[in-house]
């Protein structure tokens, strides 16, 4: 079979094989819908990762808040967003972390593509 993955630059296509790879990580992040689960994670991050059977690579990415590594290990942005929320990060913070920018730089990048508001 041909592998056309990642044919769009800087984009990890969250498809079936990635969903298989990332299942434990995504299940953990899905649990963060629940406030008690968020607290339990904060109390002992490593233990919480182990409870969901994360791989060593996934666990390391979580502990390091390495969003791109989490995505490469099969993380879906929908559930990773809940992890980011738990850390107090918004989508611009997360955008900055992934693109090597500060949040302000990331916002300026967004603005540079804009229209309406001050953008005419």
């Amino acid at each position: 079979m041909t592998d056309d993955k990642n044919k769009t630059w800087g984009t990890i296509k969250f498809d079936g094989p990635m969903a298989t790879k990332g299942y434990a990580l995504n299940k953990m992040c899905y649990s963060f819908n629940n406030a008690e689960a968020r607290e339990e994670f904060k109390q002992d991050e490593a233990a919480y990762c182990d409870k969901f059977g994360l791989t060593p690579e996934q666990k390391e990415a979580v502990i390091n808040r390495d969003i791109l590594a989490m995505e490469r290990e099969g993380g879906s942005i929908y559930y990773l967003a809940k992890f980011a929320g738990l850390l107090g990060l918004n989508v611009q913070d997360v955008g900055g972390l992934q693109t090597g920018r500060t949040t302000e730089e990331f916002q300026a990048y967004l603005d540079s593509q804009g229209r309406g508001k001050n953008n005419g």
């Binding site: 800087g10 984009t11 079936g16 969903a19 899905y30 967003a81 738990l86 990331f106 967004l110 593509q113």
Partner: protein
């Protein structure tokens, strides 16, 4: 027969809900965006639709990967919102609808669609933010809502052409429902944006404009895109255009645009708003 009286497109991003929670509508960042809604609210206030069919996608509140529907339709008497994990305030229960919902399900199955049928699901910001936008102060409980949830997360996702066909089948089902109720259809989400990867932050305002133009005049042109092409052109989450296409499919014939607004960036997205009426 029940009648579709109009179609509305709108963003559904959480940042909008949070801005409303905090009363930021008139701040410099938000005022141009919120300026798009009073004409739609007025129209809704005049028309008083009985039922809203809302095309949205779940972002991981209810539809997890364990058992993920391609299309899911609600047939429940009510729907709760819940904690999504990152601080948007929950909204009061949404009133559901069972008779038209089941009629639509019957017609979908008859016409070879394979929906997951939901008598008890939680609805997330994809549905609640648009309701909050249309009915500020959460004054939406008089209206019955039929949620239609489309997978926009994990590939493979339903094709744009399939989402449009789903809308057409739902539109025809509404037309064949023996009732004099008025139905409005919402296409939510979009437009161009990408949250994940090193390419995060891409917005394509030209494409967004094309989408809004074609949605009115030639929606079938938009259905010729593949989801992979939408990712390339409009970002990984640009596939939320599929909800707009499903909404447009419901309207069946020609439409005219009576209102439009577009602002970008709003949070990480191009935020489009339209009110469409059948010719």
């Amino acid at each position: 027969m029940a009648k579709i009286i109009g179609g509305i497109t709108t963003s559904h991003i959480p940042a909008i809900g949070i801005a409303m929670d905090r009363g930021l509508e008139d701040t410099p960042y938000w005022k141009d965006f919120f300026a798009g809604y009073p004409p739609i609210r007025e129209w809704l206030g005049e028309q008083k639709p009985d039922i809203a069919i809302v095309f949205y996608n779940d972002h991981g509140l209810e539809m997890f990967l364990d058992k993920k529907p391609t299309f899911a339709i609600g047939c429940a008497p009510s729907y709760d919102n819940a904690d999504e994990g990152w601080g948007i305030a929950t909204i009061p229960p949404v009133t559901g609808e069972t008779e038209l919902s089941w009629h639509i399900v019957n017609e979908l199955i008859e016409h070879d669609f394979d929906p997951t049928v939901c008598q008890d699901i939680k609805v997330d910001h994809g549905l609640t933010v648009p309701l909050s936008l249309m009915y500020p102060g959460h004054n939406y409980q008089h209206m019955k809502v039929i949620p239609v949830c489309i997978n926009c997360e994990r590939h493979p996702m339903p094709k744009p052409s399939r989402c449009y066909a789903l809308g057409q089948a739902i539109g025809k089902a509404v037309e064949s429902f023996d009732s004099d109720q008025k139905v409005v259809v919402f296409g939510t989400g979009g437009l161009s944006h990408q949250l994940d990867g090193e390419r995060a932050g891409i917005i394509n305002a030209d494409f967004d404009e094309e989408c809004m133009n074609k949605l009115v005049s030639d929606p079938e042109a938009l259905t010729r895109y593949s989801n992979d092409e939408l990712v390339e052109i409009a970002g990984a989450q640009g596939v939320e255009l599929n909800m707009w296409l499903a909404m447009r499919g419901c309207m069946l014939g020609k439409v005219r645009e009576v209102h439009r607004n577009y602002v970008a960036p709003i949070s990480n997205t191009g935020a489009g708003t339209q009110l469409l009426l059948n010719e």
